[in-house]
């Protein structure tokens, strides 16, 4: 039980994907303009990441290792992730066209998102059990979602602020992300992995 809590806490706060591993920066900066889209993106990423870590574990254990074709790991993982993203996009287009429009290009981009591929690869590297790896994928996604939603709240607040012209947009967003990363340093040592 403690082990699982440690995995979750570590993935969400201490080794946050965005702020300490610097993975998934592209959607982090791209879809954080509005709170609503950020929340939609968070759920999409949570779904994809959890499933991707589950599937990658299964493929790793049942296909890649038995057949000794570990060198095809990346290709297999990308295939699975791409299919998952495609599936999510179709469901979303059907159920929530507005969110689909809002996420725009970033939804297909999850396919090549380093965070999603990263979670799949890091997962198998760490030799987790099946449940632990699902939890790890989920935790990483929750961490991503947490940071993305917080960041979009901050960016919404910055709207309309008289920020100097040269710092408007990405520069000030990156400075803010840096400050957040520093703040998250406070969590270091929280769990000893």
């Amino acid at each position: 039980m403690t082990e699982f809590a440690v995995i979750l806490l570590s993935a969400v706060l201490v080794n946050n994907y965005v702020l300490t591993k610097f993975l998934g920066i592209c959607p982090f900066l791209g879809v954080s303009g509005k709170l609503e889209t950020a929340i939609g993106m968070s759920f999409a990423v949570m779904f994809v990441m959890t499933l991707a870590s589950t599937m990658s574990w299964l493929i790793q254990q049942w296909i890649l290792i038995p057949l000794d074709i570990l060198y095809l790991q990346t290709v297999f993982f990308i295939l699975i992730i791409a299919a998952l993203v495609q599936f999510v996009e179709m469901v979303m287009h059907k159920t929530s066209p507005v969110l689909h429009q809002g996420l725009g290009i970033f939804l297909p981009l999850i396919t090549t998102n380093c965070a999603v591929l990263g979670v799949a690869i890091l997962n198998v590297q760490q030799d987790y059990s099946f449940f632990a790896s699902v939890l790890y994928g989920f935790g990483a996604a929750v961490g991503f979602a947490l940071v993305l939603i917080l960041f979009s709240g901050l960016r919404e607040r910055m709207e309309g602020a008289p920020i100097p012209e040269v710092f408007k947009g990405s520069p000030i967003a990156l400075i803010t992300a840096g400050m957040m990363a520093l703040a998250f340093m406070g969590f270091s040592g929280l769990v000893k992995v």
């Binding site: 296909i63 057949l67 000794d68 074709i69 095809l72 290709v75 297999f76 295939l79 699975i80 299919a83 495609q86 599936f87 179709m90 469901v91 287009h93 059907k94 066209p97 507005v98 429009q101 809002g102 725009g104």
Partner: protein, 199 residues
């Protein structure tokens, strides 16, 4: 041999996923295009044609199918452009917003020859009259599109400013000078009249 297996398995898996996705795409197929309805709802429905399309609906269709830019609706101004850009998920574009006061068309009835050409031009059917009779414009329904000015053979239609009503008055943004508001209204009105003289 080993490589052959690997390729086979990879191809098999890809095929399987392809089939699942194909089924899913059939199951989750999206009917129609709610997008153009949504855009049409944002347009001011002046039907003025300034966007280059014959009315608001065609422009909405064009935007939805990404044939037209989001900044072609002049009467809608910046607000409409931003709203359209928002639902299209594209970057807002500059728009030439002209400062304007609301105007409606007015027929000088003693000059009207009753030719009905303006009635045919009006996109919202707000000119009433019969052949050889004076025509008149229902000011409450006129969108101010100016499409009736051109066809009139005797140039008896002019655009007049809608009088500012106390009931429809609203507070300007804080810091606005009273003199500025009056001045702007006067200037725009003057310009409109001036243009008319030139035509």
């Amino acid at each position: 041999m080993h490589v052959f297996y690997a390729i086979l398995i990879f191809a098999g898996l890809a095929l399987l996923i392809g089939v699942v996705l194909a089924l899913a795409s059939r199951y989750f197929h999206v009917e129609g295009d709610p997008l153009s309805d949504n855009i049409d709802a944002l347009l001011p429905q002046t039907q003025c044609g300034q966007c280059g399309y014959p009315g608001c609906r065609p422009y909405a269709n064009a935007v939805a199918s990404q044939e037209a830019e989001v900044n072609q609706c002049v009467p809608g101004g910046e607000r409409t452009m931003l709203e359209i850009a928002d639902i299209m998920g594209v970057e807002p574009k500059d728009i030439e917003e002209e400062e304007s006061v609301p105007v409606v068309a007015y027929i000088r009835e003693d000059e009207c020859i009753g030719c009905t050409l303006c009635i045919k031009a009006c996109p919202v059917d707000c000119i009433i009259g019969a052949p050889k009779q004076y025509h008149t414009i229902i000011a409450d329904q006129c969108t101010g599109c100016t499409l009736c000015l051109e066809p009139c053979p005797v140039d008896c239609i002019e655009m007049v400013e809608v009088p500012e009503l106390l009931e429809h008055w609203s507070w300007p943004v804080p810091g606005t000078l009273r003199a500025q508001v009056a001045e702007k209204r006067r200037a725009v009105h003057h310009e409109a009249n001036h243009e008319e003289e030139n035509v």
